[in-house]
Symmetry: C2
Subunit: 232 residues, 2 copies
């Protein structure tokens, strides 16, 4: 019945396209810069598929997965997206741009399926699915849905950004777009929140300079707000 994993990634390439090993997480976080201009070189199909499969594994509250993504590759569509993204050239240049959406309603319809599948696989009992579902819907409904889907969608979004970087590709996470325009151009339903855009490809030029970051003691506190982090 449930001998096999349900939708665990399969056939993930074990190396970058050129055969180099995947970038270690430490390296990709330290070296990643947002890309300003992309080459037209395509992202190989098996790499794009791996990025999407990894994004789909991101965690979500109650496993509700309240995210959907539009993968835009057609040149005309990328140009249309560029026009509703303040005409940023990288949108039209990048071979792949992912529109990340948070869905504020759909999860209520799919919760039953998610919990029944989970229970069938040993995550909870089939007998208590209805009760569990009621608890989940009550809890999540008690939060701002805008906030909730934005938080969640960014986990999957960030996962895909790092997946692309692990395979040696360049990325640009983008917050500059006219959400209403994006929804109109890409047939996106009202309940969706357009959360972010992710361009993936190969950079035209060397990375931008590193602009620096706040030192740890400025953004981390020990034990309570206001007590600057000090490593023991």
């Amino acid at each position: 019945m449930h001998d096999k994993p349900t939708n665990l990634p399969a056939n993930l390439p074990a190396t970058q396209p050129g055969g180099e090993p995947l970038k270690p997480f430490t390296q990709m976080v330290v070296e990643r810069r947002a890309t300003t201009n992309f080459l037209p070189d395509e992202v190989p199909e098996e790499i794009l598929n791996a990025i999407l499969q990894l994004g789909a594994q991101a965690p979500s509250g109650y496993n509700l997965q309240p995210w959907r993504f539009i993968v835009v590759r057609g040149e005309e569509n990328r140009q249309r997206l560029q026009t509703v993204a303040y005409n940023q050239p990288k949108v039209g240049q990048a071979p792949v741009v992912i529109i990340a959406l948070g869905m504020k309603e759909e999860w209520k319809e799919t919760a039953d399926e998610v919990f029944r599948e989970g229970a069938a696989r040993g995550a909870g009992s089939p007998d208590t699915v209805d009760q569990y579902k009621k608890g989940a819907i009550d809890f999540v409904s008690s939060m701002s849905q805008d906030m909730w889907v934005n938080r969640h969608t960014m986990i999957a979004f960030t996962t895909m950004m790092y997946a692309a970087e692990a395979y040696g590709f360049d990325t640009a996470p983008m917050e500059g777009f006219d959400a209403a325009g994006v929804k109109l151009e890409f047939n996106i339903p009202d309940e969706a929140e357009v959360v972010a855009l992710l361009a993936i490809g190969r950079a035209q030029e060397p990375d931008k300079v590193y602009p620096g970051r706040f030192p740890l003691e400025r953004i981390f506190f020990s034990e309570r707000y206001g007590e600057a982090w000090e490593s023991k």
Copy 2:
């Protein structure tokens, strides 16, 4: 003057504590499960420092870094946090729990410093900092600040979750807490949004079963909403 990188991570451990290599990103995403119960074993100081340093490198719009984090390790403080996190035992069990905050006001005060440092390092020109800053503040202010800080903070949060997993530790991302209670207990200012909690440590028992995920064609669309993803 600016010969050296500003706050790029230093002394990142190259291996897991036992000497095993860092987990490849593909493996950690596929194998990661939210941990229900943690052992009391501490997270070594150099690993925790690495996790924080990596989180600090996460990207943000205009490099504004509108996030702050409280690292809770004291037993009494973890118990206090547990009481405002629906009494979830993992909060009190885990040796480290990070409270992730999005700051809705502070970035306006620190933007000048961020842009001047960036310009001094070659990201833009010192002559246009004031103009750039005005553009950034106008743009970001035009968005819901709740939404904006939630989106951003989740990038750094997700980065720290994967950093911990790369070093072989177990994690639990949590959305179940009373935000007002957390703010009161940890001296957090009004402008802050409590975005999520991240517990880090070692799991007591084997991972939970994998509950499955939607197949790719349910969450990814090709070119426009409603056209199910099909790999070429």
